[in-house]
């Protein structure tokens, strides 16, 4: 009975986490664009992105912890950190481990942004774009419900949303400030005083 509960909670927390990660990624892209939503100011979107991301970490910890306690999963502490060494479906389980490691790196550097600087934070934050698809593949091919119709439909919808957001991210004019600033209008430095300046 206890084991069944663990298994069920492990599955459910994994699915919830995938939803949270998707929302966090979409929110992150929206935040980076610098645009508010109707009725939701930028700072609220930024806060929501941070909070959803933290919640995703919480659910990921629950997901991993419950499956560690579940004898059917045959998960070891090592599998949590070291990918592709698991007993069952080592490759698909390993992708989960990779996603876990990447998320830890992304969230830790976000929390430490002040200490490590914006450049390092930004560099690591790009890993999100690797973390999300790896997490999706892990849930589809390692998850119990991965091939259920409802899950497949949900995954397709989430993938479409993220792909659309990435396309927007790569498009010209993605940043709100781009339209305000335009290209730099500075030309090569020139001295105005060629005529006036006769000292030298």
């Amino acid at each position: 009975m206890f084991d069944d509960t663990m298994w069920a909670f492990g599955r459910a927390s994994g699915i919830v986490d995938l939803v949270l990660l998707t929302v966090a990624v979409l929110g992150g892209i929206l935040t980076r664009s610098g645009r508010p939503l109707p009725g939701i100011p930028r700072f609220a979107l930024s806060l929501a992105h941070r909070n959803v991301s933290m919640l995703a970490v919480v659910f990921l910890v629950l997901h991993v912890a419950t499956l560690l306690l579940d004898p059917y999963a045959k998960l070891t502490i090592a599998d949590v950190v070291v990918p592709f060494a698991g007993a069952e479906k080592p490759f698909w389980l390993g992708l989960g481990t990779v996603a876990f490691d990447l998320l830890v790196a992304v969230v830790a550097t976000a929390l430490l942004q002040r200490a490590i600087g914006t450049k390092a934070f930004r560099a690591v934050h790009w890993l999100t774009y690797a973390m999300w698809p790896v997490a999706v593949l892990h849930s589809v091919f390692d998850g119990t419900d991965g091939t259920d119709a409802w899950f497949v439909v949900g995954t397709v919808l989430a993938t479409a949303a993220v792909l659309a957001a990435v396309a927007w991210r790569l498009s010209h004019g993605f940043l709100e400030t781009q339209s305000l600033r335009g290209p730099d209008r500075l030309r090569a430095p020139q001295r105005p005083d060629a005529e006036l300046r006769r000292v030298s």
């Binding site: 001295r191 005083d193 006036l196 000292v199």
Partner: protein, 411 residues
């Protein structure tokens, strides 16, 4: 930035030989004969008091009382473990100014004396001299002539307008990047690598070397009560003999210009203090070249630059050219400067050459207000000051330009 064209400072009504008293290209022999050696350690205990009594103002541009920075560095240097630093700033980024280059070439030993005296007074273990070539080489050669200058480290300044901004100097010495940086504390509290840092212009230090030798009363014997001593002035533009002159404090601007061969009756305006300075109308040239004398015009001697503008030139065009140059000299680190100065330059160029649009003047005012006070260094503020003075002094010209005319005299 050659100093070949420098006319030897003459004694007389205008020329006062203090800083340049050892003669042109003074080596150690001439320096020692004229001034004698300065015992920095012996002068140290009384230097702060003498400096305060002398009323010496900074000669780098901002013009703060020289003793205040020294006192602040001394105070910060009392923190446990604090190791103060002294920096001589001779990076004359201002293309109109040649007085620092002149000083470094002709009186390098006086600058070294001042640097060492300041270092002794604040207990600094490290002393730096930051300047562009060829001035840097001149001081380096002078330092090689004496035993007490071995610990001075020389750092080359790039030929860029903002390379002399205080935080850019510190950044250049610390990281090799001569760009201004953000700061919330004064350099005297936290400068080079967080150490208490005394940063003075090279002329300020040369003047300090004289105060250390001869005292405050001697210093005040020349100049006026509110502008004691002498200052080096670069006279450029529409004058017969562009040159660097040492003049007594409080000398009238017209007199200084005439000493450089200017026909002051032919001038439309004079830019005082360089590109970050302020335009003075032709009818104000009787004002003394002192902080108090120039205050009513929103101007300041700054680094001692006078740019004369002949009546046959257009002040709007001259200002547009200067704003374009200043915009191009932005380090492009700070958004309001990076985007605001080019927009301001574009507006002034249209005012000067293109449109008969009455909205342009309002746009110029608005952009000036927008950039002012919004950068890590004083570049946007200085630009705003110069532009505001142009708007006052060339108000009639601007009105004529708005209708396609120009106020410049035919001949």
């Amino acid at each position: 930035m050659t100093v070949e064209a420098m006319v030897e400072p003459e004694s007389g009504a205008i020329g006062v030989d203090r800083l340049l008293a050892a003669g042109p290209d003074a080596r150690w022999a001439q320096h020692a004969t004229r001034f004698g050696a300065l015992d920095a350690a012996a002068a140290a205990p009384t230097l702060l008091a003498e400096l305060e009594a002398s009323g010496l103002g900074g000669r780098g541009g901002a013009g703060f009382a020289a003793w205040r920075k020294l006192a602040a560095t001394l105070e910060a240097g009392r923190r446990p473990g604090a190791r103060p630093v002294v920096i001589a700033n001779g990076s004359e980024g201002e293309p109109l100014s040649h007085k620092d280059a002149t000083l470094l070439r002709h009186a390098p030993h006086l600058v070294i004396d001042g640097l060492l005296a300041a270092a002794a007074a604040v207990g600094a273990s490290d002393a730096y001299l930051y300047a562009a070539e060829p001035g840097l080489e001149a001081v380096r050669a002078a330092a090689a002539e004496r035993a007490d200058a071995a610990r001075i480290r020389f750092v080359a300044a790039p030929d860029a307008f903002i390379a002399g901004q205080a935080t850019a100097v510190v950044n250049a010495i610390e990281n090799g990047v001569a760009l201004p940086r953000d700061h919330t504390r004064r350099l005297s509290e936290s400068g080079l690598r967080g150490r208490p840092t005394l940063l003075h212009n090279v002329e300020t230090l040369a003047q300090l070397a004289l105060v250390a030798r001869y005292g405050a009363a001697w210093f005040r014997a020349v100049g006026t009560a509110d502008d004691p001593g002498t200052r080096l002035v670069t006279i450029a533009g529409d004058v017969a003999l562009p040159q660097v002159l040492e003049v007594a404090g409080g000398t009238r601007i017209a007199e200084v210009l005439r000493a450089a061969g200017a026909d002051t009756s032919r001038l439309a305006a004079v830019l005082v203090g360089g590109y970050h300075g302020a335009w003075l109308p032709a009818d104000a040239l009787d004002a003394p070249l002192s902080p108090a004398g120039l205050a009513p015009f929103g101007a300041h001697p700054g680094a001692g630059v006078l740019l004369a503008l002949d009546r046959t030139r257009c002040g709007v065009e001259a200002t547009a050219g200067i704003v374009s140059y200043l915009a191009a000299q932005s380090a492009r680190q700070c958004g309001p400067c990076r985007f605001g100065l080019p927009a301001l330059a574009e507006t002034w160029n249209r005012l000067a050459y293109a449109s008969h649009d009455s909205g342009l003047a309002a746009r110029a005012w608005e952009l000036t207000d927008t950039v002012d006070g919004r950068g890590a260094c004083a570049h946007p503020d200085g630009t705003a000051r110069m532009v505001r003075s142009a708007q006052r002094v060339f108000a009639d010209d601007l009105r004529l330009h708005a209708h396609g005319g120009c106020a410049r005299a035919a001949r």
